[in-house]
Amino acid sequence: MRYHGLSECTVLVCKTVLILCGVFTGTVPVYAQSGGNPESISIRVSATVQESNDVAVVTLRDMILDRQVTNQGIVTIDPQIHDQAGKMRAEGRSNAEVRIRFLEELELRRIGGSETLTFYYVVAGNNMDDKASSEALDLDNRNFVLNSEGEFYFWIGGRVDIRNAVQGEYDGEFIVEIEYL
């Protein structure tokens, strides 16, 4: 069995990219003016051509673990409800049928230490950019159709017990696999 487009995204890298994009678009005005004379502006027209079997996964928002989703030492993020859920978008062939798999359990490792926490992922998906109507992904529900733009959206939540955790910063990555059918 072959899997195409395995994508791994770490939180820190994605945040950096988003900030840089914001600065770029904010500092490039396209504007022309004169006293009654003709005015011109040139814009780019572009497309990115990919081989049909490629599929990319883009991180749109990182998951946020904060006090609002912590109750008695258990952090719980419902991907279909909480704004703290992470968000990703798969980009592939228009209207293609795909099978989606992800690791449901992951060990987060403390940065600068050896302690770990086990994070249990809960993932919802939708071929529209609409969290409210997304479906939970699991072993029984993992075949989907990309939309006409070739897109599919994921919202990533989960649960982690931090009652016995050593204080510090923990790092991990969510891994999703997408296979064309």
């Binding site: 678009t25 904010g26 490039v28 005005p29 396209v30 504007y31 022309a32 003016q33 004169s34 006293g35 009654g36 004379n37 003709p38 005015e39 011109s40 502006i41 040139s42 814009i43 780019r44 027209v45 572009s46 497309a47 990115t48 051509v49 990919q50 081989e51 049909s52 490629d54 990319a56 980009e91 062939r93 228009s94 733009e149 070739g150």
Partner: protein, 206 residues
């Protein structure tokens, strides 16, 4: 020297004759006021062209080999919108200069494995500030259009606008230009980034 003077007189005489002839055959069914002739080099008459929303690219995004006809439709979120601000009583000419193709890495070539045919479409809206919704968008054919910056009311024509004079600030308005179009993605293309450049030029109808 004498010969030189004689030629100048001759040319003037012909020009005057041509003017009379032109006036004689001009139909009497309508009137046109060449207000553009009076547009001064004054900031009150400035034409301002600006891309709205910070998106200075008509981007078809990710496409695949053999995908065929791929379109950014007029009412799509990917349409590029320009604001055209100028004197509201004047007509504006829009001239579009699109590329025939998008080329791999923007390098012009006749190699069909490295270029995608591109067709540009345009529309305008001239019903006032902020009126850019689908119901206001008027598509035009080809790559040129002429329209008033603010659409004139239907019915009998009103009085001509106030001619420029010292201290007069003509009322201004904003019209909008929409660029969209399509590409045809073949199956023999090389993977990569394909680019082209569209130049938009606006001027008063002078």
């Amino acid at each position: 020297m004498c010969e030189f003077i004689s030629r100048r007189i001759s040319v003037r005489a012909f020009f005057t004759s041509a003017m009379f002839l032109f006036l004689a055959v001009w139909p009497a069914s309508g009137q046109e006021f060449p207000f553009g002739d009076h547009v001064p080099e004054d900031e009150n008459y400035a034409l301002v062209l600006e891309v709205l929303g910070g998106y200075s690219s008509l981007d078809f995004g990710m496409v695949f080999f053999g995908q065929g006809h791929t379109e950014i439709e007029l009412n799509s979120d990917d349409v590029v919108i320009f604001a055209i601000e100028g004197v509201r009583s004047l007509d504006v000419f829009v001239d579009l200069l699109p590329p025939t193709h998008l080329w791999l890495d923007g390098i012009s070539t006749s190699d069909d494995e490295k270029r995608i045919p591109f067709t540009l479409n345009g529309a305008y809206a001239n019903q006032g500030e902020g009126n850019t919704g689908p119901g206001y968008r008027v598509p035009f054919s080809g790559t040129a259009a002429r329209f008033p910056i603010l659409r004139r009311e239907t019915g009998p024509p009103g009085p001509p606008p106030v001619p420029p004079h010292s201290g007069y600030v003509p009322p201004r308005a904003t019209a909008y230009l929409f660029l969209y179009g399509n590409i045809n993605v073949g199956s023999e293309l090389q993977a990569g980034w394909y680019l082209g450049e569209i130049t938009v030029t606006i001027s008063y109808d002078i």
